[in-house]
Structure formats: structure tokens, C-alpha cells
Symmetry: none
Subunit: 223 residues, 4 copies
């Protein structure tokens, strides 16, 4: 699975472009952009938007400060592009591999597995944390994320669960109505890690499994 426009993992290595440059090949340009974004992710997630210094981003990217402005018009745009660039088409992937009649347990299991493997411990976790922390100050980003990620995820979940609900699966209707309940422990995992990870580590895997157990075993009370 690749992520559109996202820096490949591990290229934090400062690359100092030699004096003799050709003509700015598109690949080289893209590569630089990626390197800058990777550096930006690191610096922004360590200090937050306002306290992050573009000096640090440039140094970490191995470019001059002015170079940043060849790729991004200003700090805010760099930040927004950063979040945009790491946008995970995870839900699209999930949607593609979801057959129309998937059993909800299987769907939910796959859903959580993707979070564990594709988000936890990766740059996506840092992006997610950045979004949670700073999103309220960047309405465009929030709106963008809602449109591109959240609402798609909601539709996907609702699609599967509504069908399941019609087939009488308990609790499916409720989750279809509030898909946030499905995702909530993931969000909490990210926040817990950022706040209390040092002093009180959380068994995220265990928690997520417990969450799935609760959901898939629950029965709607009959009115």
C-alpha cells in the first residue's frame, strides 16, 4: 500500500544537492518536496505548528531556508500540505477489498487490523495526532480531512453495518448510526500515547481487541 505524495519512510537523511544541477528534473523536485515534508512532519509533531521553526525544518531536510519557499508559499501552507500529503487512502483500500456481503465481524476485524499495522507507530499516527492537536485552528484542514477521510470512512462503515443490521446482527444498527463509536478507541490510543505513554503505557492491542469483543458480542436490548 502506498500513500499518495507521502515521503518514503526513513529518508530523514539530509541530502545536499551538488553544485552542478541539471535542470531540475521533475523527479528531483518531487524528491525534495518529499524530503521537506518528512522533515516538516518531524519538526511540527515535536513542537506543534506555532512553535515549530522553519529553520529546523530546513536543517533537517538538508536544504537552505529559502528553498522551503520554492516549494511552499509559507509556513501555514507547508503545514496544510504536510497533512494533505500524508492523507491515507486507507479507507479506499478497505472499501476495495470489502465484498458486498462481508460479515460485520470480519469487516471490523480488518478495520482494526489496518489501524494497528498502518497507523500505529507510523508517520500516520503522528499526522493524526497533529490533526487532533492543531486541526481546530485550521478549518481548511479539518474540512479537507472530513471530506476526504472521515466522511468516506463513515459511509463505508455505514454501508456494511446497515446491511448487517437488516440481517439482524445485534448492535450493527447502533454502530451504523454512530460510526464514531467504532473509531473512538483508536483515537484514545493515539491521545493516550502522546500524553501518558511515558508514565503509563497502554496495551493498545489488548484494548482494541477488547473493544471488538464488546461490540461483536453485544446485543441490542429488545424494546
Amino acid at each position: 500500500m502506498t500513500v499518495t505524495g507521502a515521503p518514503a519512510a526513513g529518508d530523514n537523511i539530509p541530502v545536499r544537492a551538488g553544485r552542478g544541477r541539471r535542470k531540475a528534473s521533475p523527479e528531483a523536485t518531487d524528491e525534495r518536496r518529499r524530503i521537506i515534508l518528512a522533515a516538516a512532519l518531524d519538526v511540527f509533531s515535536r513542537h506543534g505548528f506555532a512553535a515549530a521553526r522553519l529553520d529546523d525544518v530546513a536543517a533537517q531536510a538538508g536544504v537552505a531556508k529559502g528553498t522551503l519557499y520554492l516549494y511552499f508559499p509559507n509556513k501555514q501552507t507547508l503545514f496544510q500540505e504536510l497533512i494533505r500529503s500524508y492523507l491515507s487512502p486507507l479507507f479506499d483500500k478497505l472499501a476495495q477489498e470489502t465484498p458486498p456481503d462481508v460479515p460485520p465481524q470480519a469487516f471490523i476485524a480488518r478495520f482494526f487490523e489496518m489501524f494497528r499495522t498502518q497507523v500505529l507507530g507510523t508517520e500516520r499516527q503522528r499526522i493524526l495526532h497533529l490533526l487532533i492537536s492543531e486541526g481546530s485552528r485550521f478549518p481548511e484542514i479539518a474540512e479537507f480531512y472530513h471530506r476526504e477521510v472521515v466522511s468516506r470512512g463513515i459511509e463505508l462503515v455505514q454501508g456494511v453495518l446497515r446491511r448487517a443490521a437488516q440481517e439482524g446482527v445485534p448492535s450493527a444498527a447502533t454502530l451504523a448510526q454512530f460510526p464514531q463509536l467504532l473509531v473512538a478507541p483508536m483515537i484514545v490510543a493515539v491521545i493516550w500515547d502522546s500524553l501518558f505513554g511515558r508514565i503509563h503505557p497502554l496495551d493498545v492491542d489488548g484494548m482494541l481487541k477488547a473493544h471488538v469483543r464488546l461490540l461483536t458480542s453485544s446485543e441490542e436490548p429488545k424494546p
Copy 2:
């Protein structure tokens, strides 16, 4: 329910030397402190710690900039005191009114009701959001909150649910192990509101009720 040292809701109104500056009466001093903290809450939650300007805090509190430094030694301490001062002894209240043999449903219902009435829409929600957003940059605050609020809450929840688990209540054991699962939708409610509240309001009440429904109806799978 009172909150130690917390400004009363709604006194954002700049008060200029109330009814005659008394010779440093403790009440007047406390009042000023409260006013400054209320202004700080507003400014900090609008801009975040780094981007908040003490000029604005002072202006909003109706005091001179230098006055802030009579009450707090610097910006960071003001911020930390802000979060500290609004610390809700909510869990203590809850613990006090929890009889030893409360049925878990009742306990959970009361728990969520307190969140709805004492957090949602109040300054505590803003403080909570501030904590979530900035906490990772303030280890002291995180540690303080964990010690004073989180770990107490966890113990309280575990106390009730472990008993319930012994009495055979389904899902109680799981929740006792991961009390975060109980709280997760509340956290998500706060974050959703800050990010998507404008574009896609969430029926928090409905979601919380649905969550409770899921939990209290769930049955642990029999092994």
C-alpha cells in the same frame, strides 16, 4: 459542585477594579486571579499555547500586561495553573455518591450524565481540549492530570466494575481492564466538536446513549 480555584462561568466581562481596589484583600486578589485565568482560558483555547499572546490575555482580563506577572511568573506557569485550576474533582464527587454495591448500569449512567452536564459546553470541555492538544508538550501537566484525574477515575471505575464482574455482569471484566473504553466516546465527542463541529455537528447525547446501550447489553462470549 464547585471547582477549586476555577473562575465562575461567564465572568469573561472585564472588571475594572470592581468596587474600589482594597488594600490587597485576599478576596480581591483571588478574584483577579480568577479573572486572569478566565481570560487565559479563552485566549489559550482559541490560539493554543504558543500562539496565544499575553497582551490579549491582559486586555481580555482588563488588566495591564505587567499585572499578569504579579499573579504568575511566566506564560508557561500561567498555562499550567490554568489547567490545574480548572481541575475537576468530578471523580471525587462521583466516588462519594457511589455506594459500594451500586449496580454498574446505574454507575455508568451517572458517569455519563456527569460528563454531559459538567463537561460538555462548559469551560471544562475547553480545558480538556487544551489538555489533549498541548499536553504532549507539557509533561508536567500530563503527569499531573494523570495523577490527579485519570488514575483516580480509573480506580473508581475499576472498583465498581470488578465487583460487577464477580457478580457475573457481562462485559464488566473487560471494561475494568480497559476503562479507557468507557471514556473513549467522550474524548471523541470533544475532538469531533473542535474539528468538525461547524461542518458536521454530532449528536453527542445520542452517541453517548448509544454507547451505554452497547456496553450494558453486551455479553462476553462464552469461551
Copy 3:
């Protein structure tokens, strides 16, 4: 030998005036003034005029900050009064005890002895250092000191030495023309102590004696 208006040595002890004050007896007022000046000497000579904080002066004097302004209209005046208040009528003393026909050696010996006993290691040394350091920024002080101290000293020295010169004492005429040469080692002693006292203490007594030796043994070359 007393010094007009100078705080008695050793009253750094903060004196907190009781609530019940009579009517501000002149003595009490004078006493306070003295205490403030003593504190000011300490703070000013430690930090210099600009970097000295009136807060510290007040604290060290054991009075409230506002009280300073009851005694001195502002920081600069306090500083000037400080130097004025410690003005040593040393030369007057010396003049009084100088008989008209004193032998120049005896006069010079007495002169240096007064410096050793009345200046070195006393507050006068600190005042002198303050004058040297800050005087150029306070023309009034410089002018005052010149008028009250320096020009009198010069006249005194010239009076004695001119007579001695007429009697054929070698080098007296030269010193009468440039009395600064007589005083120079004292000035250097004060400066050396402030700059290098820690790393390279100077035997001031020895130096002064050597100076006297040089002067009293020197012979003007016969033209």
C-alpha cells in the same frame, strides 16, 4: 570623624516601622533616609546605576517601594543624593589639622594615611568606585564632586607644596602643578581592586608607601 548625612556603618538591618507611628519625628525621618541610602549604596555599587533595581533597594532597606519616593523624587536623584550624602569632608579635616608650615613629607604621609584608614575598605571606597564608573553619565555629580571635593583637595595640596617648593624641596613644584600625580595611585588602587582584586590582589599599602618613597626622594633635575 563623622561624615555628613552618611548612614552609620552596619545598619543594613531592615527596620519595619510599626503600624502606630507618631507624627514622623524628624529623627525617624532622617534615620529612614539613612537606611535607604545605605541600601542604595549596596545595590548601586553591586549592579551599577542602570542595572540596579529599586525593588532591591526597598527590600534591603526594609521599606515599601513607594516609600522610596517619599524621600527621593526618582532613581536618578536617589543616586545623586547617595553620592552627595557620603561626601567626605576629609580634605576639610586634613586642612584643619595642617599647620601653615607643615613639612611636605609629614603632610603627604598624613594624606596617605587618611586614604588608607578612611577610604580603603569603607563605604567611601565604594562611593569612589561608583563615582569613577558612573560619573561620566551624571554631569551634575561630576561637577558637584569637582567643586566640593576635588578642587578643594587640589587647593590644599597646592598650598602646602608651593610653600615647600619655595623652600627648595625637590619635586614639590611639580606635584603642586599636577596634584593628580599625588592621588593617582589611590585611584589605581580602587580600580585594581574592583577589576583584579580576586585574581591578583594588590598590596595597596606597599604600593602607597613605595609611591611616597619615590616622591619624597625625588629630585628635580637642575636645568
Copy 4:
């Protein structure tokens, strides 16, 4: 005689990007540094360290305030570098041209001539005054000056005078023991000028010559 790193006399004139800002040529950088130091000398010696405003330094140097921080990390370092940069290798020069068997009169004459021509009326006088005024608050500077200038000068003087003393030159032994006595009138000249120069100018040349006359004619008393 040139002085390492010292601005040439008279370039207080703000130079705006000379003849086209080259890509950080070392010369241009050095030049800027020199200009800033020259401005700093002016501002610091007019107001003293604490009262000097970096705004003024920048304005006088013809650069933006931020530019100062490209050359010096903070005000204090700028000040220290200022004094360091004007460090006169005068004694080295003097030492080099001093033959091993120079007659003490000649040596002293040369010594005073250097002071008259190389210090009086030059930036070195202002630096010296700054050192005298502020040195006690900057132990590093005092220590540095003692090591680089004072102790070297002392050794030089002692070298010459001890030899002379062995050859029976009167007063040489005394001066060798307290070289400060040789320098004292120079120090007094600087201080007198700063304090009383306006109201009572001193014939420094005359005084120094008189001083030399006194020294070279004096005879140690035979015990």
C-alpha cells in the same frame, strides 16, 4: 601599528551594503562585524552596558536589529567581544622594540609616548574607560584583560626595570615591584577626562611628562 580585528578609526558612517552584498564573502562579513563593533563602542561608551540599547547600535551600524544576532548571540557577548576586539597588542609592540639593555629612561619615555599617541584620543581610550567602568561586572572580561594585557605589561616593565635596578638606577627596584605606579597617571588621565574633562581640562601631556621627570630623577633613600 594595527590592532587585530579593530574597526579602523572613523568608520562610524553607516555603510549600507557597501558595493553590492556579495554571497557572504568573508571580507564583507568581517566588514560588517567591524561596523557593528564600531557602533557598539559608540553606544556602549555613551550609555554604559546596561543602558545601551541594541536598537541604537543597530541604527548606528546601519543594519536591522536582527542582524546583530547574526554576528553576536546576545548583548553581553557583543559587549565582551567589543572589548576583546579592540585589545591592543601595544605591549607586544613595545616588547619587540625593546632591546635587552635599553636604558630605563628611554623605555619609560617610549612607554608614555605610546600611550599618548596610541591611546589618548583614540577608541582605545574609550575601551579603556569602558573596561574601568564596567569591568567589575564582567569577571570574564577582567580576567581576560588581566591575562592578555595587564600581566604582559607588568612582565615587560619588570624585565626592564629589574635589570636597571641591578645596574643601580635609583627607583627602578620600586617601580619593578609596583609597575602600577608607572601606569597610574595614565589611568587618572582617562578618568579625569571622562569626569571633569568639560569643566576642568587636564594637561595630560604635561602631567605625564612631569610624572616621568619625577620618576627618572628620584633616588631611593639609602638605608
